[in-house]
Point group: C3
Chain length 347, copies 3
């Protein structure tokens, strides 16, 4: 990690392949939101709703849609997708330097197939038969189990645990505390207690996947647990054995997917969505926060469960009535019938 | 970890103490589900529902109930409990070899009471006064705190943290990222903020317990947190201080049990069940996914909370009505009274 | 960690700055609840409800409110806040000794600004530019990233991971498995998949904060994620990027706060509360277990969501009716209108 990186407006425009308006030599020290950016900072306007903040901002340059830029007199980078350009700029300003290639003397590397360009941190353990591809970083204290394969240009952060027989493709980021390949939850009842079902499958993770801190991806019972390409998972994602997740699906923090469920591609799950086991979710399914998905979803769309939040006093009353909801329904049906009878009587 | 293990049908029959039908010398390379088993694989039919898959399967041998086997012409192992036999077979095919006994040179073992047959992985730390029983494996990077005792034939996976004063019996499996004996959440309010209550109890874990990755079992405030024999917990199980869990209880992923609650034996909790503190759950209680248990359950049975999943548009309308459920109830009562009055008037 | 600590009643009275009644030389070996305390143990009566337990207890001394002590003939410590005095006494009896200052030879300490009084455990990694204040303990296997600062008298337990650029103030306790400063979940959609938004902010944690095992506090996108002074969080707390938590707020296990939400001071969240992103919670807001906070809360009070628990058979019926709740509401409205029309007709 070095000091802060700075760029001139013209340098940024070149790096991001964007046109700019204004003084190209303007020095930019970092990125900040419009509302809090001081002089020297780059900002961005991703949503026209916040246009008022643009005029009020002290940012020294702003990433703007060309249509907005027409009427803007300050320094700006012109982008048809300002939010995407901000994302690209964030990579340039990131002060985190990639560790130098090499194996730290305190690391225990039994594996032989580790590329020379790999950076293996202090106190790492790389077990026999593991393979680590070119340009990959293994953070301090991480453990890579026997015969597991990690592709090129991955970043496995500190204290990650990867069990044996796990396969991770290229450009994957795995955050600290994640456990990949722990045993799926499989037991057969027997007269002498639970008989463990050894989990003989592995885990396969695609390209450009990111997995948030303290997540768990369990190994399959017989076949592999599979995470497709371009899947992004926030912290505490729980993927049980034999789950399959399609390309590009995104899961916010603490989503939990039970065993053998198949999830399509391009889905978005808000925080703490739960999914029961052995079901199928179609492509392009979007789930609101804390929903429990209790059955297969066969068509794209947005799905939800739960109740809204309210003051506890009112909630108690409503929750008590929920316990009588079926009864209430029947009473309404009975009222309807009574009224019909009355109408008849009167008719 | 060695290469793949293979068995002949006759060898498997002997190892599992089962009869077989067919060619005993058939070589079996692994286990696979009926639908995807290739030649060379063992499969099993645990549920008569899937009998069609049996005829379609390319498996080279199948574990079958004798009643099914009567009409089956292929190779099979005869078992009255095919699923249990599959579980037992899975242990035979598991390629994960137990690490060799011995202390890795990079491990820091201050404790003196470590059996010669124990395997202590790279970069482990075993603090003063800890005891590790015969045949136990401590994975790389795991930490065992002062005066903690681990029994015989346990498997403590990589990067597990066991605090001081924890007691773990025999044949226990603890997956990576688990923390046993962290402080329970105890604080007394004071005029200068929260006064920490030091957690002076420990944790006691019974025989044949398995705890999934990244779980937490907190130490007791004054007495111990207790997990009985044959308890199985999936990933992210959260057991708060002074909880007691009875023998043989099973918890799927992400169950959370608040402080001082006592759970019976033989219970099954589906995924992400929550339990409030200071209550009692009877034996043989079964809880559906994501239920929040808000009060003691004194009789065996199945319990639930929550709402079903639906399309978000409909859900929003229903959830909005939930906020008026008590009002709705009262309006129905009022309608009923009105109708009775009318009846009287008309009577 | 040494053996058990013991105190005479008089010594305890002096240490806790309390008056006592009875025999000052009474030896006390530990603390226990009234119901299970044996001779030799100190207990406490924090709630007058449990007064019956006081008479039945075998405790050798009890912390009592002076009004209760008047009619108590045994040994006691007099406190106007017995629960707070118990908390203070628990610190005295804690057998966990602070590790001795010094850097374990197996630790990898690249940083230069580590106070001589710091205790750095086996296999720790302290990266370049990190600062560790006087009296702080870093447990075995913990990793402190580049340029992160940890204040004085903190206790960072084993296998904690602190990323680069994190700032932790004084007297902070962080339990095992916690990850501080992992990347917030920020991605911009692009035609070629998700473009990662590098998380350029840090994390700032105030004084006297405690964070439970396996929690995650993500770094900010552009500005810092902030946890105020005296905040206490139980295990599995998930704090997303750019969240701000006010002083003295308490969160029980598994609370999840989504990005950019601002939470006031003096709030208490029961277990597994969820909070959506980009909202504001006022000071002194109290939330019941498992509530999902879906919108800003602008005034103090207690808030809830969800449904009560019931037997699964009844629950299924009620949950099915929930799916028709809006329809039911409309039918009730229609009944009301019909009755009004009838009344008119009859009028």
């Amino acid at each position: 990690m070095s000091g802060r990186k700075t760029f001139s407006l013209a340098e940024l425009a070149q790096a991001l392949e964007l046109e700019f308006q204004g003084e190209g030599e303007t020095r930019l020290l970092g990125i900040a939101p419009l509302a809090t950016a001081n002089a020297g900072y780059l900002s961005f306007l991703s949503n026209i709703k916040f246009k008022a903040a643009l005029q009020a901002s002290s940012a020294s340059a702003v990433i703007l849609h060309p249509e907005i830029a027409v009427s803007y007199t300050g320094n700006c980078l012109l982008s048809f997708k300002p939010y995407l350009s901000y994302a690209q700029a964030s990579a340039l300003f990131d002060p985190l330097e990639k560790p130098r290639a090499g194996v730290h003397p305190s690391a225990v590397v039994v594996a032989e197939d580790v590329d020379d360009s790999v950076a293996i941190g202090a106190n790492c353990v790389i077990e026999q038969g593991a393979q680590i591809g070119a340009g990959t970083v293994i953070g301090p204290g991480a453990v890579v189990g026997a015969n597991s394969r990690i592709g090129t240009n991955c970043f496995i952060h500190a204290n990650v645990t990867i069990y044996h027989g796990v396969s991770i493709a290229d450009d994957v980021i795995i955050h600290s505390g994640v456990v990949i390949g722990g045993d799926g939850f499989g037991f057969a009842p027997s007269s002498s207690g639970w008989q463990k079902i050894h989990q003989l499958g592995g885990v396969r993770i695609g390209n450009r996947v990111e997995i948030g801190a303290n997540s768990c991806v369990d190994r399959g019972a017989l076949e592999d647990t599979v995470i497709g390409n371009d899947v992004i998972c926030d912290d505490y994602t729980m993927i049980a054995h034999n789950v399959v997740i399609g390309d590009g699906t995104a899961m916010a923090a603490a989503c939990q997917v039970a065993g053998s469920t198949v999830i399509g591609s391009g889905c978005t799950f808000a925080g703490n969505v739960g999914v029961v086991g052995h079901i199928t979710i179609a492509d392009q399914v979007h789930i609101t926060a804390r929903t429990l998905i209790t059955k297969s979803i066969l068509k794209p769309g947005s799905y939800s469960s739960g109740t809204g939040m309210m003051e506890t006093g009112l909630w108690r009353k409503n929750a008590a009535r929920f316990a009588k909801l079926d009864e209430l329904y029947r009473r309404v049906v009975s009222l309807e019938q009574q009224l019909k009878i009355q109408e008849k009587d009167e008719g």
